[in-house]
């Protein structure tokens, strides 16, 4: 290590200039970054739900809906229908629009005394005139389940225009254009813009807002805490510089690699603030504590010491994040794992090379001794803490044991209740829109069920109808439309009842009339060997989704003779949820094992490794227990906290134990070594905990609820793992020493 620290000092200028150069080069590529908040943008290619979802997008005229709601006292007026026509007409041929369904152009199959109408619900060139005609239309529309509660609310105060987007289009861009074009019409009625693309856009806006407002504020707060702790400008500048540069490098590489900022990768800067700052704080603190007379020799000693713990601390943290790569359902999670690891690696490099190079090039003019003897509040506090731990180690262990008991119980109450609507605050306009559209129209999430077989075979049609009927039994599912419905209605107007005809020839005859209808593009494949049931799901609650999808899958299993598959937003959400939880639980396990091995290797002892991970285990118990007790669910954001707590928690333990080993070299007495370790590492730990927890608590002001929860949980995790390393870890070490079970810490022979 001394050789490396020699190199750092010898090439200090080269290091500084190279860092600046790389920062400028990578910083340039940040301009290529753009935010893509769509969680489902890159679905796995080997998952059948994802494959079918993409196929619906490509072959059935699109898979995402933009829903425009028009609210009025009474929908059934000429004025409102004119507005529906204007919107429908102006959006129909827009780029990215696959198809549109509104009251103006919805297919209607009507039987009358004189014949049959397979056409549109209303004649857009000849809208009803008299009040009676409007009343008749209202009664007709509200009497048909095809329209009531799906295109028109039951109270006739709202209607929707369902715009189906083509597959492989920039959904958010198309959604924005749809809104702009609709708003340009300057219509008097109240309009709502709902559906996934608008919702994703809203989340994107919130991310941008948070990044630009909360990010800098969080940074300022950390600056304040650092200044308050170190009482020196360089104590502030160095960690901040490391963080800033590592963020620039990470986002620069992302820009260079063409990787987009997702809802998850948007928190990388915040993570780097938390984790990256710790490395510099430890390096800086160690140098501050070591360098007394000669800058270069002191720096060499300090660096030779701190390199190992910082390297291992970053290595274990990287392990924690790399575990995200394995088994994640959506690409953004593995991307998050890769780039957070890269960011941590950069932060580690910068802390170990750039920070000391800067300190060596611009040495402090103040006398180190003066400040050390000044006896700050922090040192006094740590002194007291040590005295207490030394005196009552058993009490400390017992107190911790008592603390974790309720949390242990809480773990079993942890919920997986993920609701995407919960992502936005209650007063967010998009959340309100989704709520209104769900209440009035039954929801906005598309569900697609594919039924394989000859679409003109009466038996297949009956299976389609039976599946659709089964789906409609779920209270949250509405608007199930299939080709079978059209055949039933046609058969009805031919005077043979609302059912699928048994005679294939009759089906073929009816098909003659139906073929070529625009809506069929969404309902049957061109080869007529596959039908698609389109429906809307009205809940974003994972429990509701689980009940529906699991129930439907069981139904499908029973229908062994016919191939039925389900996809859509609820299915994807469920997949995502299940895969996140299982893969993250697994990666949490992998992370703990890897960290344990790394720490044991560092300490050259499995026992020490075990003791080092105790604060993490306790932190995890408290974290998940707290989530169970407070009702914070395990979701896409909160599930990350576990791995982060391992990454950060182990850092504190590593610093404490490495320091302990180091002190033992000189004093040979464990008690003395613990005292010094608490003072030196303790200071860094407390500063780090304070800075970062406050930085993360700023996230409570985020407009994205998962980020709020994330901020709160990371803060609690930091405090818990910090306190664990400062109290529980030394208390256990003292107890082991006192019980003389073994001579735990031996002076290392030089």
């Amino acid at each position: 290590m001394k050789t490396i620290s020699d190199y750092v000092l010898r090439f200090r200028k080269v290091i500084i200039i190279s860092t600046i150069f790389i920062t400028f080069v990578l910083g340039y590529f940040i301009k290529d970054l753009h935010i893509n908040p769509d969680v489902f943008d890159s679905l796995p290619r080997d998952d059948k739900v994802a494959i079918l979802f993409n196929k619906v997008g490509e072959e059935f005229g699109g898979n995402y809906y933009c829903i425009i709601g028009i609210q009025s006292e009474d929908i059934f007026t000429k004025e409102v229908f004119e507005q529906i026509r204007q919107i429908t007409d102006s959006l129909r041929f827009m780029n990215g629009v696959g198809s549109i369904m509104s009251l103006i152009d919805v297919i209607d199959i009507k039987g009358s005394d004189w014949g049959i109408e397979i056409g549109k619900l209303v004649d857009e060139y000849d809208l009803p005139d008299t009040e009676k005609e409007w009343n008749d239309l209202r009664s007709y529309v509200l009497s048909k389940e095809m329209y009531k509660g799906t295109l028109v609310s039951a109270d006739a105060t709202m209607t929707i225009i369902m715009v189906r987007l083509q597959g492989e289009v920039e959904k958010i861009e198309v959604a924005r254009n749809l809104r702009r074009k609709t708003m340009e019409l300057g219509l008097p009625e109240k309009l709502y813009f709902g559906g996934q693309p608008f919702f994703i856009e809203a989340i994107g806006n919130v991310i941008s807002k948070d990044l630009t407002l909360i990010g800098p504020f969080s940074f300022l707060l950390i600056l304040f805490v650092l200044y308050f702790s170190f009482r020196s400008i360089r104590g502030v500048i160095l960690p901040v510089l490391t963080i800033l540069i590592s963020i620039i490098w990470t986002y620069g590489v992302m820009g260079l690699a063409g990787v987009e900022i997702s809802i998850i990768t948007s928190i990388i800067p915040i993570l780097l603030i938390a984790i990256g700052s710790a490395y510099t704080i430890h390096v800086y603190n160690r140098i501050e504590e070591t360098v007394v007379k000669n800058m270069d020799s002191g720096l060499k000693v300090a660096l030779a010491y701190i390199m190992i713990p910082v390297f291992f601390a970053s290595l274990t943290t990287i392990f924690g994040f790399l575990s995200f790569i394995f088994g994640s359902y959506i690409k953004i999670i593995s991307t998050f794992g890769v780039f957070t690891s890269l960011g941590i690696f950069f932060a580690m490099l910068l802390s170990l090379f750039f920070t000391p190079a800067l300190i060596a090039t611009f040495p402090s003019r103040k006398s180190k001794l003066n400040r050390r003897s000044s006896g700050s509040f922090l040192i006094l506090l740590l002194d007291k803490l040590y005295l207490y731990i030394n005196k009552y180690p058993k009490t400390i262990v017992i107190v911790w044991a008592f603390i974790i008991i309720p949390f242990l119980i809480g773990i079993f109450r942890i919920e997986r209740r993920v609701d995407f609507l919960d992502y936005l605050k209650k007063d967010n306009p998009n959340r309100i829109t989704e709520k209104v559209l769900t209440e009035k129209m039954g929801g906005t999430s598309p569900v697609y069920v594919s039924v394989k077989g000859n679409v003109l075979d009466p038996e297949v049609l009956k299976q389609i109808k039976a599946t659709s009927d089964f789906m409609l039994k779920d209270k949250n599912l509405v608007n199930a439309r299939s080709v079978a419905d059209l055949f039933e209605q046609m058969n009805d107007v031919m005077g043979e009842g609302k059912k699928i005809p048994d005679d294939p020839e009759k089906v073929a005859n009816l098909w003659f009339l139906l073929e070529g209808q625009e809506v069929l593009e969404q309902l049957v494949s061109p080869e007529l060997d596959e039908a698609l049931i389109n429906a809307t799901f009205g809940s974003t609650d994972i429990l509701d989704i689980k009940i529906f999808i699991d129930g439907l899958n069981q139904y499908i299993l029973k229908k062994g003779d016919i191939k039925i598959e389900v996809t859509g937003i609820p299915s994807l959400v469920l997949k995502l949820d299940r895969r996140i939880i299982t893969s993250q639980m697994r990666s949490l396990g992998i992370a703990i094992i890897l960290v344990f091995i790394a720490v044991s290797f560092l300490m050259r002892s499995f026992l020490k490794g075990t003791i080092a991970i105790i604060p993490i285990i306790v932190t995890l118990v408290i974290l998940y227990g707290l989530m169970g007790l407070s009702g914070i669910p395990l979701d896409i954001a909160t599930v990350l906290v576990g791995s982060i707590s391992i990454g950060i928690g182990i850092d504190y333990s590593i610093h404490m134990i490495t320091n302990l080993n180091h002190e033992m070299k000189f004093s040979g007495k464990l008690v003395e070594a613990i005292k010094n370790s608490i003072k030196i590492s303790g200071k860094s730990i407390i500063i780090n905990v304070m800075a970062v927890s406050l930085g993360f608590l700023i996230l409570l002001w985020s407009n994205l609820i998962p980020l709020q929860r994330f901020g709160l949980l990371v803060s609690i995790t930091m405090i818990t793992s910090g306190l664990g390393s400062l109290t529980l870890l030394p208390a256990i070490l003292i107890l082991i020493e006192k019980s003389k079970l073994m001579l735990f810490i031996k002076p290392i022979k030089k």
């Binding site: 294939p504 020839e505 005859n509 070529g516």
Partner: protein
Amino acid sequence: MKMNKKKIQSLLILTAFMFSLFSSAQSASEILEKMDEVMYASKDQKSVTTIVLTDRNGKTRERKAITMQKGRHMRLTRFTAPASQAGIGFLSLPGEVMYVYLPAFKKERRIATHVKNQNFAGTDFTYEDMEAKPYSEKYIPELKETLSDQYVLVLKPKPGIRSDYAWLVLYVDRNNFYMKRVEYFNRAGIKAKELVSTFEQKQGYWTPVVMEMTDLRKQHKTRMIMTEISFDNNFSDEEFTVRKLKQ
């Protein structure tokens, strides 16, 4: 004097311009009417139509029908293949009256007029495209260009005519006044469909032998091939009744 000369010049230019406009409007109408005359020249006609549908992947399906037409407003189409659709009949009568007959149900049903913008039996022709109604009755023509071999007309629906198209661009053969090509523009001003026809002179009448309609958005094509064409068969009006349709 100078002023007067200028005024006279301007007046002359204006008159010439107005005259040219007027004459072009006149000739556009004449061209369209002539085209209608050519298309509906025979008293009646009968043909076997093979309909080939080609989807965007190049996959084709084939149908066959016998079409009978009398005058400008009566047309009966009876499908003969595929077997599942054999016997299905389609009758178009004056006054935008349309009937369909479904043999499996042994029932006929009248089809509402405002379904005209719907595609006809899976083809790329809408009921509007298929209706037996002369162009000059539906559209106001404007001569856009006169090329060496064809006239290019822009047709806009007459007031009160329901059409899904904002305008059509029609290419008419200059010598024989048959329709060579039609481009259909939707209300957004986008070219939505294109019809290319091949006309041949049979028994003295210029008649389409191949008509190919392409839906540019769907990339779907319908090719109608007319064979066994006969003219002036002396069909009686009786042949174009619901009773006949049901037979």
